[in-house]
């Protein structure tokens, strides 16, 4: 393998392009550090892209994990200021159903208030007026400032701002080794998945924000972190059945949150420890699907008649506390490890644990530590400086618009003005479910580092709507073939996307989901011969 040595030296290398890594890169860049972000696949490929899209108020953890609850509500308030284009301020209800203990409500409200979370008890009738499809037998409801958040838009806005402030960010760049010399991590070796070339990058400080994959990473420096891979499965219903985030008012358990997200609803989650070898190939089981359906229908009986679109699973990057290999005393709070003091290895920081919505605080802690190591005195400004897309505060205040022209605004905030729209072709929508124009696809390719269909999906929501990419995948792949000049790779990409969508459909493949899958197969396999096109390509590379 050819090693292409890079002469560039950075203050900080950030490993991992999830929301945390993106947040760290932004914070570092804003404090004037020379920073390089490395992502092995694409932004939000891991847990940051496989979650509820829930901006916790902290209520969920108020009783059992008050520190996490306080972290959540503080960041909840920050994100409303800096990331308003990613947020739909829905509020949430904690609902007591006949099976739940009503006395828990008082404990819950008390704990919320202690953590600084506003918690307003409302009577069941009022709750039903707010959410007519809620289980009519509910016995109590508490209103909290939960919200729905778009994790893709959030991460991309952080990456975009990092780049605007001088950060370099690379995708498809997998860290294969840490360069360790004299008890100090001095940089990383990488493999570029697009070119097949190896690179070396050097920095005074390396920050591990690789989530569940971080444990294997630090092993290259002889460091052991006990991770606890907790698989969480979520169902996507093809309809928005509620306006607010709906939670069960009970001790955090499986399948007790329903989150509205644009025109769909997400029901989750499960939590099961899995082997570290399973995290790259997670499969949703029939038992998980059945559990989520059963509990979801308890909360909103209408879900029994609502079509399921897909199911997916993510892995929480939980960390077992040191010297507790059983994982009993797991914290869902932020874990920031200075490996110099912990393991005697200088120049390496691990930032993990936490929640989607505490990413900024996590980034701040890791960057503070990096600054101390570098001897840089620069204050964190990320709590007050709006993200790109949210500079003009009025983007979201118009309230929820499920479809139509607001889609690009929701995704890119006030950055939507950068989307080409002068030409009639650029204004043409190629994904009608999510209203993605050809101009927006071009913008994502030219400005947002999108190289393939999966990248485009994460940046524009293309293919994520009701048809799950059946109509738009081929149109977009053709456009990609044109823009990149590589039809072979675009064709393989098309087949990959269809299989990836099916991977999500398969666990819920009955009813209209199975019908739609049969239609997709009839089109791409039967009519088009996509399978034949791909197999021929594999034989003659």
């Amino acid at each position: 393998m050819r090693i292409v040595s890079s002469n560039a030296t950075y203050d900080v290398i950030v490993i991992g392009g999830g929301v945390t890594g993106a947040g760290v890169a932004r914070d570092c860049a804003l404090r004037g550090l020379r920073v390089l972000l490395l992502e092995r696949h694409d932004y939000n490929h891991g847990a940051s892209g496989r979650n509820h899209g829930l901006m916790h108020s902290g209520g969920r953890y108020a009783v059992t994990d008050p520190d996490s609850a306080r972290e959540c509500i503080l960041e909840n308030e920050v994100l409303r200021r800096i990331a308003c284009h990613c947020i739909e301020p829905t509020d949430g209800l904690f609902v007591t159903l006949p099976d739940d203990d009503l006395s828990y409500q008082a404990t819950f409200v008390d704990a919320c208030r202690q953590a600084g979370i506003s918690a307003e008890v409302i009577d069941p009738q009022q709750a039903l007026q707010l959410e007519p499809l809620l289980n009519p037998d509910l016995r109590g409801a508490v209103r909290v400032p939960d919200a729905s958040i778009d994790p893709f838009a959030l991460t991309l806005a952080n990456v975009l701002d990092a780049r605007l402030h001088g950060a370099e960010t690379l995708t498809e760049q997998e860290v294969t080794d840490l360069i360790v010399a004299g008890g100090r991590v001095q940089g990383v070796c990488t493999l570029d998945h697009r070119t097949g070339q190896s690179h070396e990058f050097h920095a005074a400080v390396t920050i591990n924000a690789a989530g569940i994959w971080g444990a294997q990473l630090v092993r290259h420096a002889g460091i052991n972190i006990q991770m606890f891979p907790a698989k969480g499965t979520i169902l996507v219903y093809g309809q928005r059945v509620g306006q607010m985030v709906l939670n069960r008012c009970r001790r955090p358990s499986n399948a007790d949150i329903l989150v509205p997200d644009g025109t769909v609803s997400l029901m989750g989650t499960t939590s099961d420890r899995i082997g570290i070898d399973e995290v790259d190939d997670m499969r949703v089981t029939e038992a998980e699907v059945n559990l989520l359906m059963r509990e979801g229908e308890q909360l909103v009986p209408q879900l029994a008649q609502t079509r399921l679109l897909r199911a997916f699973a993510g892995v929480r990057p939980l960390i077992a506390s040191d010297d507790d290999p059983s994982g009993r005393s797991i914290s869902r709070g932020i874990v920031c490890l200075d490996h110099a003091t912990r393991d005697g290895v200088e120049g390496l920081i691990t930032i993990t644990g936490g929640k989607l919505i505490t990413y900024r605080k996590m980034a701040e802690l890791a960057t503070d530590l990096a600054c101390r190591k570098l001897g840089v005195d620069a204050a964190c400004t990320t709590a007050t400086l709006p993200l790109p897309g949210s500079e003009q505060r009025n983007v979201i205040t118009g309230g929820f618009k499920p479809s139509g022209k607001s889609n690009a605004s929701k995704r890119h905030g006030d950055r939507r003005r950068a989307i080409p729209a002068d030409d009639a072709l650029d204004r043409m929508s190629i994904c009608e479910c999510e209203n993605v124009t050809i101009g927006e696809v071009r913008y994502a390719i030219e400005q947002l580092q999108a190289h393939d269909l999966a990248n485009l999906m994460r940046r524009t929501r293309l293919g994520m709507g009701l048809c799950q990419g059946r109509s738009c995948a081929c149109r977009t792949a053709n456009l990609l073939a044109h823009l990149t000049g590589n039809p072979d790779s675009a064709l393989r990409d098309l087949a990959r996307l269809i299989d990836e969508r099916w991977r999500g459909t398969k666990p819920v493949a009955w009813g209209s989901a199975l019908r739609d899958a049969q239609l997709a197969a009839a089109i791409y396999q039967g009519l088009c011969g996509l399978d034949k096109a791909i197999s021929r390509k594999e034989v003659e590379p």
Binding site: A424, M428, I430, R475, D499, L527
Partner: protein, 423 residues
Amino acid sequence: MTTLHTLIIGAGLSGLACGIALAKTGRRVTIVSAGPSTLQLNGGAMELLGCVDGQEVTSPIEAIARLPLDHPYQKIGVEHIATLALEAQQLLGDAGVTLTGDPHHNHWRITPLGVLKPAWLSLRGMATATRPDRLPWQHATLLNLKGFVDFPIHFVAHNLSQLGCEVTVHDIEVESLGLPRRSASEMRAVNLARTIGAGSKLRHLAEAINRVCDGDEAVLLPAIVGMEDDYPVNLLRRWVTAPLHHLATMPPSVPGTRMAALLRHYFKMLGGKFLTAESVGHVKLADHHIAAVYTAKSPGIPITAQHYVLASGSLLSQGLVATCDAIVEPLMGLDVDAPACREQWSHYGLMGDQPFMRCGVLTDTALRPLKAGTAIDNLHAIGSILSGHNPLTMGDGQGVDLLTALSVAHQLTTKCSLPPGRE
């Protein structure tokens, strides 16, 4: 009032072919038609048998002998396939669906991605190849209308050039069409065909083609003309100076829609009746015999006939329905050949040999569906609701549709109810 000879449930390729065959013999036939069928997906070609054991087939008639015993072709009798195939081609031709091909020798159709796949019949005017590895042209000019996104032209160009054909790509604009539109759904192939029609806009299209392709060896145009019949197709061929061939597009497809329109029209011409925008709500069964059928819209009015034909399609057309625990035939609860457990209905890798594609109703050798193991005596099942084959991996979809339809039509028009050749 004379009684109905046959009531057919489903107006896809199979139901229409069966209805036409019966109506031709003077029988009174009614077809219950719920809406557009999977013919909308058809790119202008029929497959009889394209692939056995993962190998592409050059002679379907020869290869049919190698099919497993539960395949629908085995039920209608391998020895009848060639005759029925010729009969089907004739019947479609009578309806104005002019097809060329030979059941003994597959030719190769060109898919919307520019891939060659084996085919039995192709609509006249469609581009085809006689060999799987070579195109009939040294050089082809590939055209698209600016803003038409349901024709992945860059894939077509790439895949055709892989077959040794030099391909030149042109986007053409026809001012009177006023393209492109804001929404891709206004720009589907069928919308274009409606807009282009057979008048001045078609003339403008021909002129636009002639401006870029004068004297070219072959001009390839997505199939965007001729919704009702092939008159505009023929007109365009006459007006365009270079040899013009059409290529299948992404659905909804113009050639498929045209075939459906021609077949429906011909069936009506023969005196057949449609109950359109109707679906069957309830079937009254008594002792493995259909007593009456009720539509969803008129649940109080019984429809009776001497014979009934179930041509309601697979899961896609809701001839079968998958609930979260079972794959069922929703009208009569017929016996369905399907894996018992949900996780076995499908595999990862959508374009493999998916078990759900093989699901269908079980029948006796006369194609009479079974319920609790016993055949319903005045009901036959035809087309894609039948179990025992995967049209996507075997390339036998239209063949099964047409040949089972004709086989059943024969049974219903001979006094003896045994299949032909088994008397």
